[in-house]
Amino acid sequence: MMLYHPKPDRFNLSLTVNGEVVEREIVTHLRLLDFLRDELRLTGTKEVCGEGECGACTIIMDGKTVNSCLILAVEAHGHEIITIEGLANMDELTDLQRSFEDHHAVQCGYCIPGMVLTGEKLLDRNPHPTREEIKHELSGNICRCTGYHKIIDAIEHAGDTE
């Protein structure tokens, strides 16, 4: 849920989002999630639980997956953010995104931006993870549709030729 404070204070925020420097005046109690969605209109980042449990709001901050619902925008001052919109060009998907398509790993799609970003960071570190390693990495991402098997298939086989 959006946060409220009876005595709002303003802050000149400067950060990098998807490779571009962004500067905005914001209120200090604005969550990073709301900044991305409402101020920058980057609505690929989703909100479901708003308390760190589901991973729908996952973004990459300084190279690490984090929950944007648990971070204030002011905490991101001077940091580097990548959202699902910044992962690939519109017409050129990453191997993992293509693998999600090929394995029919997407149903309603709400959890998918978080799943893809979490999967990308795992593959960066460990290009051939076991299914157990994939499950461990995805433990902060909840999907209410797929039952996970196809998501795990997609990550396991990302970049496989044939």
Partner: protein, 273 residues
């Protein structure tokens, strides 16, 4: 809400002493604080972010001690080779901690200062006899963790004082962490447990068991381990000493009786494997 991000302890104490008591909060990873705010706890008038205190992010090693900065994240603890090698129970607790996103933000200092009876780093830190270094505007003091945590959400921190680091003796103890929750990951522990020990041909020469979520604070089960080391064959009867030491509660996750049963089963399994 005023937001501050001091870059040195000196600057921190200056800011902190200027903010009225009761209207300021110190922010580390925010993984305990932010869910409270989202559930309706009012935000403070002054929020002081500790993350820019660079010196509190490092892990340093000397011949006999490991010193962990309070702002070290759960993930950085997990990835440190010495913790994996010499403090296995602490490593295992970081491995089973939440999900990747929370491990990337949540800190050891936040886990300690939040003082949840179910905090997963606490049983290993009790079992390794962690010393906490607290820094105030005038002085620094050292307290063992069991004197720092006073009850759920209650610590011995004084006004304007922060936890700066955690010191562990490198005693090369063997150790193990176990946790039981309502599902395998992303669940608050119903019971968590850390054991440290040394053994020779005759069995254990030293044994310590720290149990979490079965009392207002983590408990070291001294009476039980002492009696067990004297006469291991009496184990079935000695389990009663565990029952006498703990004071679990019923809550939405589990009943007190279930907690008693799980704790005794975990200890039984550990001692008879």
């Amino acid at each position: 809400m005023r937001y501050y991000s001091p870059a040195s302890l000196k600057e921190f104490f200056k800011i902190s002493s200027q903010c009225p008591n009761g209207q300021k909060t110190f922010l580390a990873g925010g993984t305990d604080l932010m869910p409270c705010y989202e559930q309706g706890t009012p935000l403070p008038d002054h929020l002081i972010d500790l993350k820019h205190l660079r010196d509190l992010h490092s892990i340093s090693v000397t011949e006999n001690t490991l010193i962990i900065g309070a702002l070290t994240t759960i993930q950085d603890l997990h990835d440190h080779p010495l913790i994996q090698g010499e403090f296995v129970a602490l490593y295992q607790a970081t491995h089973e901690f939440a999900g990747a996103q929370i491990r990337h933000r949540g800190t050891i200092g936040g886990n300690i200062c939040n003082a949840s009876p179910a905090g997963d780093l606490l049983p290993p830190l009790y079992a390794f006899d962690a010393q906490l270094i607290l820094t105030g505007p005038q002085a620094e003091r050292h307290l063992p963790i069991h004197e720092f945590i006073l009850g759920p959400g209650k610590t011995a921190l004084l006004e304007n004082e922060i936890l700066t680091s955690i010191s562990l003796n490198r005693k090369r103890l063997r150790s193990q962490f176990q946790k039981v929750g309502l599902r395998q990951s992303m669940a608050i522990s119903v019971v968590n447990l850390a054991c440290t020990w040394e053994e020779d041909e005759d069995g254990f020469s030293m044994l310590e068991i720290a149990a979490g979520a079965v009392a207002p604070t983590v408990l070291i089960l001294n009476a039980f381990t002492r009696a067990y080391l004297e006469n291991p064959k009496k184990l079935p009867k000695l389990l009663q000493l565990i029952d006498e030491a703990i004071a679990p509660i019923d809550d939405i996750r589990a009943t007190a009786n279930y907690r008693r049963m799980v704790l005794k089963n975990l200890i039984w399994a550990f001692l008879t494997k």
